[in-house]
Symmetry: C2
Subunit: 169 residues, 2 copies
DNA sequence: ATATGAATGTAATATCATAACACGTCAAGA
DNA sequence: TCTTGACGTGTTATGATATTACATTCATAT
């Protein structure tokens, strides 16, 4: 799916693992996210925007309570629903992903593209990258079909070592 | 991997979704599990065996606290570690699987085969089936390799409708 | 028989998530 | 203009999942 605004995830699929201008990367995503929200009528309120900014600070997944702590320190509400609601909103809008294995959330690097990536999670540095998963999902679909099962949603998450962390300590 | 003892999962890959003699199915797994434990020197204690039996009662995933409640009712300890320890043991031995999406555990239908299945979870009846995932993992490996990531473990879980639940209500 | 390590029991606590309700804002329609 | 209703936020309370730490018991091999 080609698109106008810069999409860091498409420009560099291995973005999370590569050294890059992260300030630019995250502002690109934010700009796209705002545009998306406009277009879809979703309301990008201060809490929601701030949560997305916090998630964008690095390519890691954050727990809801970590986000909450940040919000509270900045004068937003300090009860769990404040964080969960904003996170749920972002996930629904395709601006963030939930990583089931980690019970945590990460900003999406392909905002608005209706994709369903596989997640690659480095067990040393905790970086989370989105890998293209079309062939993976195709294979999964075949396996499911053979058993008469119809897939509605699926999560594909891998734990391992990112390029940087593979080098000897 | 061919094997001597009956392995319900291999005999019928779509086992969980098909009507079958479940008493036989679960006793087959239990027999294989015992044999495995013998062979590997692992100790199949009463709590552990009982937890496996409970998981084998049907092809669903159970939360640790559900298991715990059953254990407590039968005179075992009634604190969470009792259930978690037994469940962790079974997972380590390859006799049960943890389903991340559900924060729950299901008995393995291929005990002792060192496999890494994809899980197909029916959102209506909650049945969990293990699907062969070799091609899926291969595709995932390719995607990861392209990004320089080395996979150590991965979880592939799909939510959808099983054959029975696809029929109109 | 006894030393050893493994397994179990228990208390306490940490971590993740949701339900329910009150309040404020803002825009659409009476 | 007033009102109503949807939505977002704040807060309390609670529920659900998981772990740490330590004491005790049990199995096994000397």
């Amino acid at each position: 799916m080609p698109h106008d605004h810069a999409c860091p995830g498409c420009a560099a699929p291995d973005l999370a693992f590569a050294t890059h201008d992260h300030a630019l990367c995250s502002s690109d995503v934010l700009i796209r996210a705002e545009a998306m929200a406009q277009a879809s009528g979703a309301r990008m309120t201060p809490v929601r925007r701030r949560v997305l900014e916090i998630l964008l600070e690095d390519h890691r997944a954050m727990g809801a309570y970590d986000v909450l702590q940040r919000l509270a320190a900045e004068g937003f509400g300090n009860q769990p629903p404040v964080a969960y609601r904003a996170l749920d909103f972002l996930v629904e809008q395709g601006l963030a992903h939930r990583i089931a294995r980690l019970n945590a959330f990460a900003a999406c690097m392909h905002p608005g593209e209706a994709h369903a990536p596989a997640f690659l999670i480095c067990r040393l540095c905790s970086t989370v990258a989105e890998a293209p998963a079309v062939p993976v999902r195709a294979a999964l679909g075949v396996a499911a079909e053979a058993m008469g099962f119809v897939i509605e949603r699926s999560s594909i998450e891998a734990l391992g070592l990112c390029p940087a962390c593979q080098r000897p300590a």
